[in-house]
Each structure stands twice: as C-alpha cells, then as structure tokens.
C-alpha cells in the first residue's frame, strides 16, 4: 500500500489532516481517502472497528454526495424517483431508500431527508455522485422543483458508536436527546450556526452525521475539536477499512456489491424499503412482474466453518462443489471474530444452516448460511 496519491484522485477538505497524521491512503472510487490510521494514534482497522463498537469513532465521509430537491412539487419528484414512501416523512425525518432503473435494478441507494415543507436532501454514494445527479435531474424535469448538486458544499463527518451522541452533545447547543434515530436537527456546532446533524450512519451503531462548510480551515478545526472533545471517550479517527467491516457486520449494502444495476430490489432483500402501495415510481412495473415471476436468487449471510477468508467475488459452491453463486462482500469481522460474507445464491440454497463452500485459491472451503444481520447493536437500557 502506498501513500502516493493517484494523479487524478479527488480530495476532501480534510485530506491534508489525514495525511499529516500519517493515515494510510487509498484510492476509492476516484477519491484519495484514508483506509486506516497509524497505531501510534490508536488506529489500525481492527482498533478503529472496536472503537466504534465500544466507544466512538469518527469518519471523514465528505466524498459522499448531496442532492437537494426544493419547490412546490419536490415531494412528487422524490416519490417518482425513490422507491420508499417519502410522504411518510415529517419535517426533520429521514428514511433509507433507493433510486431504481425502469428494470427495478439499482441506480444507487440513498438516505432521503425531509429538511422543510418542500425541501428534501438525498445523500448518495461517492462513486455515483455524477450519475445520480444526472439521473435525478433528468427524471424530475416534469415537476416544479429545483434540483441542486450540493456535494462540494459540505464536509461530512460521521460520529459513530455508543458514545457518539455524548461526544457530539459537548459541541452543540441542540438537545440531541430529542433527536430520534433517523431524524435530523439543526443547531450551533463548534461555534458554527445552523449546522445540519442527522442521527444516521453506516456502522450499525448509534451516532450522528454532521454537515459543516467545506472550506479547509473550518473542516480541520471541527475535526480536531471533535477529537479533543472525544478524548474522554477514547475517540479514534476511522478510515474506509473499518467503515467496510462495520457496515458488513450490520449487513448494510454497498453499491457495486450487494446492489447494482443488474440486481433487483427483491434479490437484494430490501423489500421493506420498497413501497409497492405507491401507485407510481420508476421501476415499480418491473418489480411487480419480477415478483410475479418468482425471485430466483437471494442475498444471504455466511460464515466460514473451516480455515479461510471469503472475499469479494469469490465463487460459492454447494456441498458437492458445483458453483451456485458468488460473494458480494467478504472479510474478517473484527467484533464478531469470525470470517463473514454476503453472497448471492439460488433461493434453494438460502435457508439458514445450509452448508456451502467458498472457492479460495482453487479449493472449496466450508461455510454455512447464517442469519443476518450478523451484528445488531444492543438496545439501550
């Protein structure tokens, strides 16, 4: 792994901060991002992962994109392109959803936030920033609604873990105890007025994501103030390595892996975020047909039962060694201390307890289908 940057990779406003502390950098979907931080500051993928599960970790997720829809028909526009039901959102509420192609497959997954009477913010993946913006703009022209790409306007920082809310509360006058999971608020943060803070994340833990102005000085100041305020909670900066192991333990999909333009909503198991009772949205017709035809393959969780690590793209076999599917995401799970994977297999092989094999360097290594999510955060007492 090299710390030399790819010549055309984009940088977040915090890039200098990560490099200055010696983070290991990697190119991710065109972005020069930290994959893990040095051991000398408490980093390393495993330590970062454990910090988020037991205390708090912070992530620079500014590479993600932001699309704002505002206007008299903003809701109608969102309803047309998004599979979940945005009409259920109160002001200040958010929901997980996806933008679909007419075939019922994924343009991207998204968190839809209702920020105002007729104002919605879609937070989207880094690798699909341009594609998503073009898609949203091109498919909402018929609605009286302005579509803006705000992706470059924000430094987005995720503060995640059981101590995440306590940490953020030290820095803001907003009463975070009043903000339920998947709701947002605005307040003064680190002296900055009217900062958007959402109780969302990609780690299967409690926590917030905050959106501060994207200039380098402000971004660095806020990042460092969060680290200082979090010292009493053992805060650690976390990179994309831990971000991936955390979301995998929580069975959170990653675009290009569990969801893509060749996978439909039923196969991905995202039924509960797809509101077919909505009379119209892009992809609805195809999904209805697909459901009627019967879903052939499904996403399952698996755990290695023999020595070996299943990784992205590895083939999955049935017990006799016949190829039946493939791994979408696979990795050691630092908290669970197992080697886990998500994989697409035929529905006949999807029951929990089904024995399968993963082909690792030419050998079929034993694994078993297990319930998902692999990890669920403990309920607060």
């Amino acid at each position: 792994m090299s710390s030399v940057e790819a010549p055309t990779a984009r940088k977040t406003a915090l890039n200098g901060v990560h490099r200055q502390v010696g983070a290991k950098m990697v190119e991710f979907n065109g972005w020069d991002m930290p994959v893990e931080y040095p051991a000398s500051i408490g980093g390393g993928i495993i330590k970062e992962h454990m910090a988020v599960r037991t205390g708090v970790g912070i992530f620079d997720v500014s590479h993600m994109g932001d699309i704002r829809l505002a206007g008299p028909q903003a809701l109608a526009a969102v309803q047309h392109i998004s599979m979940n039901d945005a009409s259920k959102l109160a002001i200040g509420q958010a929901q997980y959803s996806a933008l679909l192609y007419p075939q019922g497959t994924f343009v991207d997954d998204v968190i839809v936030h209702r920020l105002g009477e007729d104002e919605y913010l879609l937070v989207i993946n880094a690798g699909t920033r341009e594609k998503d913006f073009n898609w949203v703009r091109d498919n909402t022209r018929q609605f009286d609604c302005a579509v803006e790409n705000l992706s470059d306007d924000f430094t987005q920082i995720a503060i995640q873990g059981p101590k995440g809310v306590d940490l953020l509360q030290k820095l803001t006058d907003a009463d975070l105890s009043k903000v339920k999971f998947y709701w947002v608020t605005r307040g003064k943060l680190c002296g900055l007025p009217n900062i958007l803070m959402g109780r969302t994340g990609y780690t299967a833990e409690d926590g917030f994501e905050i959106y501060v102005p994207a200039d380098e000085n402000t971004s660095a100041r806020v990042w460092n103030e969060i680290l200082a305020a979090g010292r009493e909670f053992g805060v650690v900066p976390c990179g994309l390595g831990a971000r991936n192991t955390l979301r995998l333990e929580g069975k959170l999909p990653l675009y290009g892996h569990e969801i893509s333009d060749t996978i439909n909503v039923w196969e991905a198991g995202l039924d509960r975020f797809c509101k077919m009772e909505k009379p119209e949205f892009i992809g609805r017709e195809a999904l209805e047909k697909a459901k009627a035809a019967g879903v052939k393959r499904t996403l399952v969780g698996s755990e290695m039962t023999d020595r070996g690590i299943a990784r992205d793209g590895y083939k999955v076999q049935d017990e006799s060694g016949r190829e039946i599917g493939y791994v979408t995401s696979g990795s050691p799970a630092p908290f669970l201390k197992k080697n886990i994977a998500l994989a697409y297999v035929p529905v006949e092989h999807s029951a929990v307890g089904t024995k399968v094999k993963v082909e690792i360097r030419g050998q079929g290594v034993e694994a078993v289908v297990v319930p998902t999510p692999f990890y669920k955060r403990p309920k607060k007492v």
């Binding site: 792994m1 090299s2 710390s3 030399v4 290991k24 994959v35 893990e36 390393g44 993928i45 495993i46 390595g241 991936n244 192991t245 020595r307 070996g308 690590i309 990784r311 990795s331 050691p332 630092p334 360097r361």
Partner: protein, 129 residues
Amino acid sequence: MPYPADRKYTKEHEWIQVNGNTATVGITDYAQESLGDIVFVETPKVGAELTAGKTFGTVESVKAVSDLFAPASGTVTEVNADLATSPEKVNKDAHGSWMLKMTLKNPSELDGLLSPGDYEKFVAEEAGH
C-alpha cells in the same frame, strides 16, 4: 529501522536466515507495517518443494490477500503452527516471527538477495521518501 544483520532480504519483503544448509523464512517489518492487521497466514505443508521466486503461501490482512514468495529453493522441514492461532504475532514482531524452516537446494541463490543495507535503501525508495 535497521534490519537484522544476520539475514538476507528479498524485494518481496521476505527475510531468510541461514544456518548451514537450513534456512528460516519470515516477512519483514516493512511488510507487516504495509499490510496492517494480519489475520491469516497460509503456509505450505512440511515436505513441500519451494522454488526461488515462486509463491509458497499467502498472508492476509483485514483488507487484502498478499502472496508470499520463496527467497530460495528447497524443502519445507517445519512450519510455525503458532501463526494459525495468533497471526497478529507477525505484526508485533515480524523479524522474530518465523513462518517456515527449509533445507536449501542451492545455497548460491542467496548471493542474489539483498543485504540489510540494500534492503533498507530499497524500502526507502518504495516508500517514496
């Protein structure tokens, strides 16, 4: 950091320590540092034939699989069973964690490997300093 003087090094970041006609093999501190947390080490069985420059196993970090390349040709006589249960020992002490021991088929192969000083230079260039 100064690399131990009692061994030679490869450009693939393995070390080989020779004692007469047998040798001990591991990976360097630079390798473990680059890999990050090591979670899995796959070594050949006792009796396996190794060919200099060819892969003989893998070392896996959380994020990636890396091939291990034989510094020399010969036969595996012993493997470190400790690494199956505690692969993180390689992170803690790469130069003190051996992966396998082998007899050397052709000891003169070692002449082509890097001295500690040359390896240190090689690493400095690779790291872009």
